[in-house]
């Protein structure tokens, strides 16, 4: 249909882009993770497994990784709990305002991440909006300290930021459910609740899985929210990677951690793809 030249011209730029900015950096990172660094902070190109040994031996790394996964899991659950009802309402009861409401889900994504993170800082701080209000209504005498610089603040902020990413695939999945299936279910005597659990929810599973994956993977790799709002107890694995590449100047160890995370994320994506395939029927 298209000439060879045309295909060549069209496919070369994206392939180049992917090679230079994705494949090469990954290859470099892979190499770095097997190199080492001298006390004088020079990188030695000698192949060894020391970085991975350190990763497994020092509890700070895998404890932080586990905590990061726990934070990401909570963000995932809350995003789904908030996002599913909203997507459901939008899809089934949006009516004529459907497009407008859909845009309103997307608009927060245009606002800078930093602005939204700082907004939470303003709300949650000891002199913040929430604490001032709670003291004003005599709910508490002293500012609640756990609100800011805690895993709670990180989970809250990440949930706020990544919920739209959960809503969009769920909404798309719900939109794809033929409405005559809902009618058929009612016709066969199923109440609205039975119809939801036996027809609508099972058919929306691909969207739920995609949304859950988005929320989990994006949260797991996040470093700004823990940096700004996490405090010492809310540190996540990416913060360690950042400091290893920055202040500590231990690129090899940073690369090893990054590769470990990449492995986790890729296996998750693979798994969610399998689940999505199993539950799609068109």
């Amino acid at each position: 249909m298209f000439s060879r030249t045309y295909k060549f011209v069209i496919t070369t730029p994206p392939l180049l882009w992917v090679t230079v900015f994705l494949l090469v950096p990954y290859a470099l990172m892979f190499c770095y993770s097997f190199w080492s660094v001298t006390p004088a902070q020079a990188i030695v190109h000698s192949w060894n497994l020391e970085n991975y040994q350190e990763l497994l031996q020092k509890s700070v790394y895998w404890e932080t990784l586990l905590r990061s996964m726990w934070i990401a899991a909570r963000v995932m659950v809350f995003s789904l709990l908030l996002g599913y009802p909203l997507a459901y309402f939008l899809s089934f009861y949006g009516g004529k305002r459907k497009d407008l409401l859909y845009q309103m889900v997307i608009i927060p994504l245009w606002v800078s991440y930093l602005v939204r993170a700082y907004a939470w800082k303003t709300i949650l701080g000891s002199e913040g909006v929430l604490n001032t209000l709670l003291q004003y209504v005599h709910f508490t005498r002293h500012p609640l300290e756990f609100l800011l610089y805690s895993p709670f603040a990180v989970v809250l902020t990440l949930t706020h930021i990544y919920t739209p990413f959960a809503i969009l695939p769920i909404y798309a999945a719900l939109e794809h459910i033929p409405r005559n299936l809902v009618e058929a279910s009612h016709d066969l005597g199923a109440t609205p609740a039975q119809t939801f659990w036996k027809v609508i929810f099972p058919l929306s599973i691909p969207g739920v899985v995609a949304g859950a994956t988005f929320a989990f993977v994006l949260s797991l790799g996040d470093f700004l929210a823990p940096l700004l709002l996490g405090g010492p107890s809310g540190i996540m694995i990416s913060n360690i990677v950042v400091s290893l590449f920055g202040a500590a100047y231990n690129w090899p160890l940073g690369a090893a951690i990054s590769l470990g995370m990449l492995l986790i994320v890729v296996s998750l994506l693979f798994l969610s793809e399998r689940v999505e395939k199993k539950w799609s029927f068109s």
Binding site: P178, E183, A184, S185, D187, L188, G189, T191, K198, F281
Partner: protein, 367 residues
């Protein structure tokens, strides 16, 4: 069937010619979507065990009427009564009415068996009963071999059967079918028409069948309700509606016909240079004359018949018969059905019995 249908105490507008009890009574139902009027003042009685077809062109409101019976739409005004109760006050899941959807609407994540079991499961019937009834239903539609298959893996005709089994397994009082055969190819369609009809006889459940295909309606129905622009044009049995069409629209929609624009004066009908006696009142009158009631004249004039002359303008060969169009002396064109390959030559003389020309009402202009 465990339930008995009681019509006692219901103010029924019964059909005197029907001996069977009324199952569903549709009373003065109207529906508009905004300013768009889809149904106006439709009243219809459906008898127990009857096969009633709602026939109409697309946009005539036939699917809307079906959806109102099923409960997916609410009538703007009017009432539905079934077995002494207002049906239109109940949500679809409480109505003992099941539907076979146009595109079957099988649940794609469930197997054939699970689809059929759906209604019984949500009604929380005992497992043993569900298993038995599902098996029976699948046997009835010859789909036992595909019990474990997902709907995507079976053909359109098979999906059709599963949709039927899924509806019938619940033993509804009334089964609604929304153009269920329209997606099938011509051969399978004819086969399904016969099967559907015999299945309906076997289960004895009243069917309300929606179609735009007049031939399908003629083959399958006990009665046809012809809907036009949201109003019932005529409700009658297939032979009745064919032989005695009430309006010009019915005559043209059901089968082929010639509409003769005649003038009645003093007990005599005048049309195209011929005339015959009639008891109709004076004035312009329309007559429907079927092509098969016109013969090529030959030999002696049949008693009471009239003859007109004309020239053939078109012939269409249909196998057993041939449809020829003849322009008569006054310019009107008559379609005539003759034996196939009669090899008739111009000019022709046509002959028909005035009794075969049925006076019909002019259809009012709508839309």
């Amino acid at each position: 069937m465990t339930s008995s249908i009681t019509t006692a105490g219901v103010p029924t507008v019964s059909n005197p010619s029907s001996t069977k009890a009324t199952l569903l009574s549709i009373r003065n139902v109207a529906k508009n979507f905004g300013r768009n009027v889809v149904l106006r003042n439709v009243s219809l009685e459906i008898a127990e065990g009857e096969f009633l077809t709602i026939l109409g062109e697309s946009g005539s409101g036939k699917t809307t009427l079906l959806r109102i019976i099923a409960g997916f739409e609410t009538a703007t005004s009017g009432e539905l009564w079934m077995g002494g109760e207002r049906l239109d006050h109940q949500p679809p899941y409480r109505r003992r009415v099941n539907t076979v959807f146009q595109h079957y609407a099988l649940f794609p994540h469930l197997t054939v068996e699970q689809n059929v079991a759906y209604g019984l499961r949500v009604a929380k019937r005992p497992a043993a009963e569900i298993a038995q009834r599902v098996t029976e239903a699948l046997e009835k539609v010859k789909m036992t071999a595909y019990a474990k298959a997902k709907p995507a893996k079976i053909s359109g005709g098979q999906q059709q059967r599963v949709a039927l089994a899924r509806a019938l397994v619940n033993r509804p009082r009334l089964l609604l079918l929304d153009e269920p055969l329209s997606a099938l190819d011509a051969n399978l369609r004819r086969q399904m028409q016969v099967e559907l009809k015999s299945l309906q006889r076997e289960v004895g459940i009243a069917f309300v069948f929606v179609t735009h295909d007049q031939e399908e309606a003629m083959v399958m129905s006990d009665r046809i309700a012809l809907l036009r622009s949201g109003e019932l044009e005529q409700v009658a049995s297939p032979p009745e509606i064919y032989r005695r069409p009430a309006t010009a629209y019915v005559a043209q929609f059901i089968g082929h016909t010639n509409l003769l624009k005649a003038e009645v004066r003093g007990g005599v009908v005048h049309w195209g240079g011929v005339s015959w006696p009639s008891s109709l009142p004076d004035g312009p009158t329309l007559f429907s004359l079927r092509p098969e009631h016109i013969r090529l004249a030959g030999g002696a004039l049949a008693p009471g018949a009239v003859r007109v002359r004309g020239r053939i303008v078109q012939r269409a060969f249909h196998g057993a018969t041939e449809l020829i169009r003849v322009r008569c002396a006054d310019g009107q064109v008559l379609a005539v059905r003759t034996a196939g390959g009669s090899g008739v030559q111009d000019p022709v003389e046509l002959e028909f019995l005035p009794a075969d020309a049925i006076p019909v009402r002019e259809s009012s202009e709508r839309n």
